[in-house]
């Protein structure tokens, strides 16, 4: 069995409207975030990976399986969609239990797995209430429970943290990390970039149906050569260091950080800067910390796509 999720030259058009175009991806295990503004193609990409929509062009393999083999695919894949609708008249427990019966599990196993998933989603007390009466957060959690119930190796979650309170968000993030640590693929779409920063092992940046960058966020940042790197240096002699940096030509721009306790430096070559910095301060200045200031998703997204998606 392949260990990767691969999309080979995948395009999807809804009539004349572009969903995604020429997507080539190889997604390894771990937490991968799909990042982009509304309409970037995140949900389309997830729907393509789960066979809910068919690619106009290209091929998709999920751990070696084609998306038009649901009987094999969904033994391995769980998908929590953004569709906020449920089969009518079912309680939370029935919703999960009957879904598990579709796997062909006997009553005992389906019951056992259903309760485990419900406990994981912290919905035990509400399990016998109708889903129609659930709050938005509870509906989000029951969808997560459903996608997790059969212990999939690939978990695809469309905006999974929407509607959750801070405690539930923290619990969910911990659970995603634990699943990733176990070797699962956890693919999350989000437009909340600071959350993506916290949880992702790698990101896929999307804009207008195109993948504009992919990989670990630092690697992606390093590849953006045309944008000078921003580095925050905290030290005891800020004025002295600033003048040395300008004189040496290492920095294009030096300014005080907004908190007044550090220098925010822009440099064209970050690698060279780090090497030269040690010689520059040798003996005279006590450096407290050197931190990259723009290798977060927000900055990378702003550099690559503009301000439309890098807001939150």
């Amino acid at each position: 069995m392949s260990r990767e999720i691969t999309l080979d030259n995948v395009s999807k058009f809804y009539g004349e409207v572009l969903g995604v175009n020429r997507v080539n991806l190889a997604i390894p295990a771990g937490i991968t975030s799909l990042v982009g503004p509304n309409g970037a193609g995140k949900t389309t990409l997830m729907n393509l990976m789960t066979g809910l929509v068919q690619p106009t062009r290209g091929t998709i393999r999920i751990l070696g399986y084609s998306t038009d083999e649901p009987e094999k695919l969904f033994q391995l894949v769980g998908y929590s969609t953004q569709f906020d609708s449920f089969p009518k008249g079912l309680t939370g427990y029935q919703f999960i239990y009957l879904y598990l019966r579709l796997f062909g599990y006997d009553t005992e196993k389906a019951d056992d797995l259903a309760w485990r998933a419900i406990e994981r989603a912290n919905l035990t007390e509400a399990a016998h209430r109708k889903v129609a009466g659930y709050s938005k957060g509870m509906r989000q959690r029951i969808r997560l429970a459903q996608s997790l119930a059969h212990n999939p190796r690939v978990l695809i979650l469309d905006e999974p943290l929407n509607g959750l309170d801070p405690l539930a968000r923290a619990e969910m993030i911990a659970m995603f990390r634990s699943l990733a640590a176990d070797g699962c693929h956890v693919i999350i779409s989000s437009h909340i970039l600071h959350e993506v920063d916290i949880i992702s092992d790698q990101v896929i940046l999307l804009s207008n149906g195109y993948v504009v960058a992919e990989g670990q966020i630092q690697d992606v940042r390093n590849e953006i050569r045309e944008q000078p790197a921003q580095i925050l240096i905290r030290c005891d002699s800020q004025r002295q260091l600033a003048s040395k940096l300008i004189e040496s030509g290492l920095a294009i721009e030096v300014r005080m950080h907004q908190d007044g306790h550090g220098l925010l430096i822009k440099t064209a070559d970050a690698d060279h800067f780090y090497l030269a910095l040690n010689q520059l301060v040798d003996g005279g200045i006590d450096i407290e910390s050197v931190i990259p200031a723009d290798d977060d998703v927000n900055s990378v997204y702003e550099y690559l796509i503009g301000t439309e998606g890098a807001a939150v």
Partner: protein, 366 residues
């Protein structure tokens, strides 16, 4: 693999049955199915009431009467002759009328109505000025006539309208309804082959349609039999064709659900508005007798009509077009008809399965 499929099919049927049987939007299907039942129950109650009236009337006869006695009364006989043959009427009414003749002055006409019965048949005699002006002899229950009426209701209402539209409501919603409810993706995210899912949904719809319409048909037949005199009922059921007719009607009902079910399931996969395919199929089925022989075979009603156990005779003077509609011009053997419906359904389901496999979830376009 087969075991898993079976388990999955059972799981889908369980989910679907709850939706089909208890959905508010399916209430009209029950009403359609129960409409003819209400008709036959009302008829049976009326017959029972009239039998009671007849029995009470017969108890007041001056002498025992036979059907022949009742039939011997004819127009022109005098009141005395009638009373001599049948005795004093157990029920009689009279009234006067001032009649203006063209030739002379107004004169008083005495009208009388005498009702006699032998317990099963009724004779109404109309007398004017002591002379029989008209008679009406009716039997309590005519087996032949009743079974033809039952066959007529079955063919022209139950089969062509009630089951047809009932199947439309049940089977078109199997996929279309879930798209409208935005809940189809739950099935598509389970490890179940799409064609197995389609078969499971079809079987669930078939089970629901069969239970609803076969039960109603059986109850209609019971109501029909209930209206018969006990002797007539026993003779029809145990010595006549009663049970064979019942089996045929139930079988045709189930076959109709199989045929129309597959048609409407397919229509739900291709068309968004159910009115259009329903109208098209209804017109196609209605035009069936007028179509060339080859085209006739591509319909459900063609096979079902051949299986109907009671032929409905065209009354004298029926317009040729209508006579053609109710006749079965080219009867086909029952096994061929049954196989025909099943094969047409399998062919439709096969084509539908190809469609389901390529189906996409895109609720925004619904």
């Amino acid at each position: 693999m087969t075991r898993t499929w079976l388990a999955q099919i059972v799981a889908v049927i369980r989910l679907e049955l709850k939706k089909t049987f208890f959905a508010k939007r399916g209430l009209w299907i029950y009403l359609l199915a129960l409409m003819p039942l209400a008709l036959f129950v009302a008829h049976a109650v009326n017959v029972g009431y009239r039998n009671g009236v007849r029995e009470r009337l017969a108890a007041h006869n001056q002498k025992p009467l036979t059907y022949q006695d009742l039939a011997s009364i004819s127009t022109g006989m005098s009141r005395e002759e009638v009373i001599q043959r049948l005795g004093k009427p157990p029920s009689a009414y009279s009234w006067d009328e001032q009649r203006q003749d063209e030739s002379g002055p107004a004169r008083l006409v005495v009208h009388e109505t005498y009702n006699y019965t032998d317990g099963t048949s009724e004779l109404h005699i109309r007398l004017e000025d002591g002379t029989v002006a008209g008679t009406e002899l009716g039997q309590s229950e005519n087996l032949g006539e009743s079974t033809v009426i039952f066959a007529g209701v079955f063919q022209f209402f139950y089969l062509r309208l009630a089951i047809f539209f009932g199947c439309l409501g049940i089977f078109m919603n199997l996929f279309r309804g879930e798209l409208l409810d935005k809940s189809l993706h739950f099935y598509f995210l389970a490890p179940i082959r799409r064609d197995v899912l389609m078969v499971a949904k079809y079987l669930a719809g078939l089970l629901a349609a069969t239970v609803i319409f076969v039960t109603s048909e059986a109850l209609q037949f019971m109501a029909l039999c209930w209206s018969f005199d006990p002797n007539l009922r026993n003779s029809y059921l145990y010595h006549g064709h009663g049970f064979a007719h019942l089996a045929a009607y139930l079988g045709i009902t189930a076959l109709a659900a199989i045929g129309y079910g597959s048609l409407f399931l397919a229509a739900g996969l291709w068309v968004r508005n159910p009115i259009l395919p329903a109208a098209a199929i209804l017109i196609w089925e209605a035009l069936n007798p007028f179509l060339p022989s080859v085209l006739q075979k591509i319909s459900v009603i063609y096979y079902l009509k051949s299986l109907c156990p009671v032929e409905i005779p065209a009354a004298p003077g029926t317009p040729p077009l209508f006579a053609l509609l109710i006749s079965s011009p080219e009867p086909i053997p029952a096994p061929v008809a049954i196989l025909g419906v099943i094969l047409v359904s399998i062919a439709i389901l096969f084509v539908s399965s190809r469609r389901v496999r390529r189906m996409e979830i895109n609720y925004t376009t619904e």
